[in-house]
């Protein structure tokens, strides 16, 4: 990557590794401006997209005016500031949400920048007590699945923040239940706290197996669980509450020590519930917090204007860690602003789909199972 990237990246790296975990609006705006300037000049496609929306580095007066690229665009074309072949790694979406084999690619210029942003932030929310746990990850080893950002994150977290790491899944065979349970049993015997890490999907499968086989674990008190993914299209709270209760039953980890992570392949930063920092409210009242180098706007779904506090809208993130691709991301997620973070919204309970025309979601799901 060119000198301009390196210069901005170096400043970002210093920020990511700073213990203060704070960034003033002024400093954020300055870094955002530099990042946009770099991305506009380095990515002709993004530049043309921005010009089409009337935005250039000279014309925008605030990072809020920088056009956000929809996450689905990552499935359609490479989004990278430079030659995509020079990317250090390409993370790919799992394809389960889009269906039909349509996967998004996130070309990452500098993995060390990703690690610098992801690991301390993870530690802040999942290991605030400084515990050195045994990581039991229900994801494949990143050596086996190098295009999975989640596996990569588990690998980074394991190396830098944990006593040991056990990967317990395979891309083709799914979760290795015996391996999970052997790792949990070993940690229990050695009285070592566990950080259990996985997607909601993996946890549902494992807990179903554990319930059926009668497996139970008395994990040490300072164990904790990080769950990610979710219950798209269904009531978030009903599905999540049931899963968390089951996880707690099987592992003896209190629901108050289960933390949800919200992230996406298209974005290098993550958001966490501050449950271990502040003591969690009931599930339905939890919210997510991002790192200081991410700003989240809540946008009206029709005209993409920012909505007043309390109103629901589409989440749009400006993530400085995405320096090598595009910082301004328009997600498919709805939420409301809560304090310094946001609360995700699933489909309104009882809401019924409109009409009798086949929806895109139905079509893609049918295609993926055909």
């Amino acid at each position: 990557m060119n000198d301009e990237f390196v210069a901005v990246a170096d400043d970002l790296r210093a920020l990511f590794e700073s213990p203060e975990m704070e960034l003033s609006e002024e400093d954020f705006a300055s870094l955002a401006s530099r990042a946009f300037d770099f991305q506009f000049r380095s990515n002709p496609t993004y530049a043309a997209f921005c010009r089409g929306r009337g935005a250039t580095p000279e014309s925008v007066e605030s990072w809020r005016e920088i056009p956000a690229v929809p996450t689905s665009a990552f499935k359609a074309l490479p989004i990278f500031c430079g030659d995509p072949s020079e990317a250090e790694v390409v993370f790919r979406t799992s394809g389960t949400s889009g269906g039909g084999g349509d996967r998004g690619d996130h070309y990452v210029a500098d993995l060390s920048l990703y690690e610098a942003s992801a690991v301390p932030h993870f530690g802040h929310y999942l290991l605030p007590d400084g515990v050195l746990p045994a990581l039991v990850a229900l994801v494949p080893d990143p050596d086996v699945l190098p295009d999975s950002s989640l596996s990569h994150m588990a690998g980074m977290v394991g190396r830098r923040l944990c006593r040991s790491t056990t990967f317990c899944a395979h891309p083709e065979h799914g979760v290795d239940y015996e391996r999970v349970e052997a790792a949990l049993s070993a940690a229990t015997e050695q009285e070592r706290p566990v950080l259990l890490f996985g997607t909601a999907f993996a946890f549902v499968h494992w807990t179903d197996h554990a319930i059926a086989s009668g497996s139970r674990f008395a994990l040490p008190r300072s164990s904790r669980i990080m769950e990610t993914g979710g219950f798209k299209g269904r009531s978030r709270e009903v599905g999540r509450a049931k899963l968390y209760d089951t996880l707690s039953l099987i592992t003896n980890v209190s629901v108050s020590r289960i933390v949800n992570e919200y992230g996406m392949t298209e974005m290098l930063s993550q958001f966490y519930e501050p449950a271990l920092l502040t003591g969690p409210p009931p599930l339905a009242q939890r919210h997510h917090m991002g790192p200081p180098w991410v700003r989240t706007r809540i946008l009206d779904p029709v005209d993409l204007r920012e909505v007043p506090d309390g109103e629901a809208g589409i989440l749009a993130h400006f993530d400085l860690a995405n320096l090598g691709s595009v910082c301004a991301i328009l997600t498919e997620d709805l939420g409301t602003r809560v304090g310094g973070g946001f609360r995700l919204i699933g489909r309104t309970p009882g809401a019924e789909p409109r009409g009798c025309s086949l929806s895109m979601e139905e079509f893609l799901r049918a295609k993926s199972t055909a």
Partner: protein, 462 residues
């Protein structure tokens, strides 16, 4: 506006129900039904079946035709009430709600009902014959669709024409018309009305739905594959299930049909087909395939269509998208902007905040629209290529609107005869081949999903 009571029960049945509740997010009240209430209602409906079957088909058609005419009468309180409530419950604009009601009630006439009976059974009074081979359902439960007003009322009408008492559970977006239909019948023809009950309950209440299914001989369900599967999973072997799953529509325009002298008309018709029901109908087009090689190119057609959709926004404005629809729209249009920025040959006609979008994409592969007045325009060398292009989506295919000069087809290299093209599309699963103008408004006797609409309700889906 005042609350709409989302129920119509015969006689005094409602007096035995516990209470009412507001429906979240809508100006609608529902009955707080218990399973025991449903069983009681079902029993009452079954009890009215003997009298219903004793009525002649002509009598039933005339009663229904009289009610139908009230929805066409601009002064009738039934129509006025429908129009006052439809926009809020269906999400359609006031103008589109009136347009939809007019389209739906075009076929709510005695003459059409009698013609439907004739087309289905050979003559209108066939079902009056004691020995006519038909498996009458003592009770039919209808699970209605979402927000296409009139679909559930039509389902109820069909069941009455085949003399089956009916319990109707409408979707929230289509709650008004079946309730008003039932109330009108209860008030005007109480002995017929004794066989009809309409009640809304939230779709998530599986206990009530399960009870309704258990009480029925026959279930009609409109919905997604998931909804259909859920209902199917609760059915017994001795029960009959009639399904109307979600489907896709599309158009095929021959190059001569969009010649300059026809272009504006064709674009207007296409815009209306897209905009009607805010594109949420199973008959709404997701993709318009346009033949290349004519005086008007597919990109020029796309531009003309965009102009007409913009114009139509004044006369029949969009009712707005749900948050989920809006999210999908933003993702799709934003991605198209990026693709254009990357130099791909796609063209997006829309602006941020616009209520519609036309996207030209040279890739002929079928891709669904995100709906809410978003339509793809794709080129084809020849309409004869349609069957091949649509093969991957055959499972969901339903309505295909075709515009071309049959006389021209003789010189075409693929499927030279129009009948061959139509036969090929029918073989793929397109149960309705029509024109652009008629696309939003199938006639009462159309074989939705390949079934005779009445025959299937008496076990004669041959």
């Amino acid at each position: 506006m005042s609350m709409f009571d989302a129920w119509a029960l015969p006689g005094r049945m409602v007096e035995d129900i516990g209470g009412t509740a507001l429906v979240e997010g809508a100006p609608v009240r529902r009955l707080e039904l218990a399973v025991a209430d449903l069983k009681r209602i079902a029993s009452g409906l079954r009890g009215a079946g003997e009298h219903l079957r004793s009525l002649s088909s002509v009598t039933i058609a005339e009663c229904l035709g009289a009610i139908g005419s009230r929805f066409r009468d601009p002064q009738d309180i039934l129509r006025l009430e429908a129009l006052s409530v439809l926009p809020e419950t269906s999400g359609l604009s006031t103008e589109m709600a009136a347009h939809v009601l007019d389209g739906m009630c075009r076929d709510w006439t005695t003459e059409v009902f009698l013609e439907l009976l004739e087309r289905e059974f050979g003559h209108p009074e066939a079902l009056d014959e004691a020995d006519f081979p038909a498996d009458f359902a003592a009770l039919t439960t209808h699970f209605g669709s979402g927000a296409v007003p009139g679909v559930t009322a039509t389902s109820l009408i069909r069941a009455l024409l085949v003399k089956s008492p009916s319990l109707v559970k409408p979707g929230l977006g289509d709650v008004v018309l079946p309730v008003l239909w039932a109330r009108a019948i209860h008030a005007t023809y109480p002995s017929l009305g004794a066989a009809i009950a309409v009640a809304y309950w939230p779709g998530g209440d599986s206990e009530l739905s399960a009870a309704a299914i258990a009480e029925s001989d026959q279930v009609v369900v409109y919905g997604s594959d998931d909804t259909v599967a859920e209902v199917r999973g609760r059915m017994r072997e001795d029960q009959r299930l009639v399904v109307y799953p979600h489907r896709v529509g599309l158009c095929g325009l021959g190059r001569e049909s969009i010649a300059p002298q026809h272009l504006q008309l064709r674009a207007k018709e296409a815009a209306l087909a897209v905009a009607t029901f805010d594109q949420r109908g199973c008959v709404s087009p997701h993709v318009i395939y346009v033949e290349t090689g004519g005086e008007t190119s597919p990109t020029e057609f796309a531009e003309a269509l965009a102009t007409e959709l913009s114009e139509l926004e004044r006369e029949l404005p969009s009712g707005g998208r749900t948050p989920e629809e809006a999210v999908a729209f933003q993702q799709l249009t934003g991605t198209l902007e990026m693709r254009m920025a990357a130099g791909e040959d796609v063209i997006l006609h829309s602006r941020p905040g616009e209520a519609w979008a036309v996207a030209f994409d040279p890739d002929p592969r079928f891709i669904p629209s995100c709906l809410g007045r978003f339509v793809w325009v794709k080129p084809l060398g020849d309409l004869g290529e349609l069957p091949e292009v649509l093969a991957p989506v055959r499972r969901h295919l339903q309505t295909v609107a075709l515009e071309f000069d049959p006389g021209r087809r003789a010189g075409s290299s693929k499927l030279p005869e129009s009948r061959e093209l139509k036969a090929a599309l029918s073989a793929l699963g397109a149960s309705r081949l029509t024109t652009l103008l008629e696309m939003p408004w199938p006639r009462a006797w159309w074989e939705d999903d390949g079934h005779g609409p009445l025959r299937i309700l008496v076990g004669r889906d041959d």
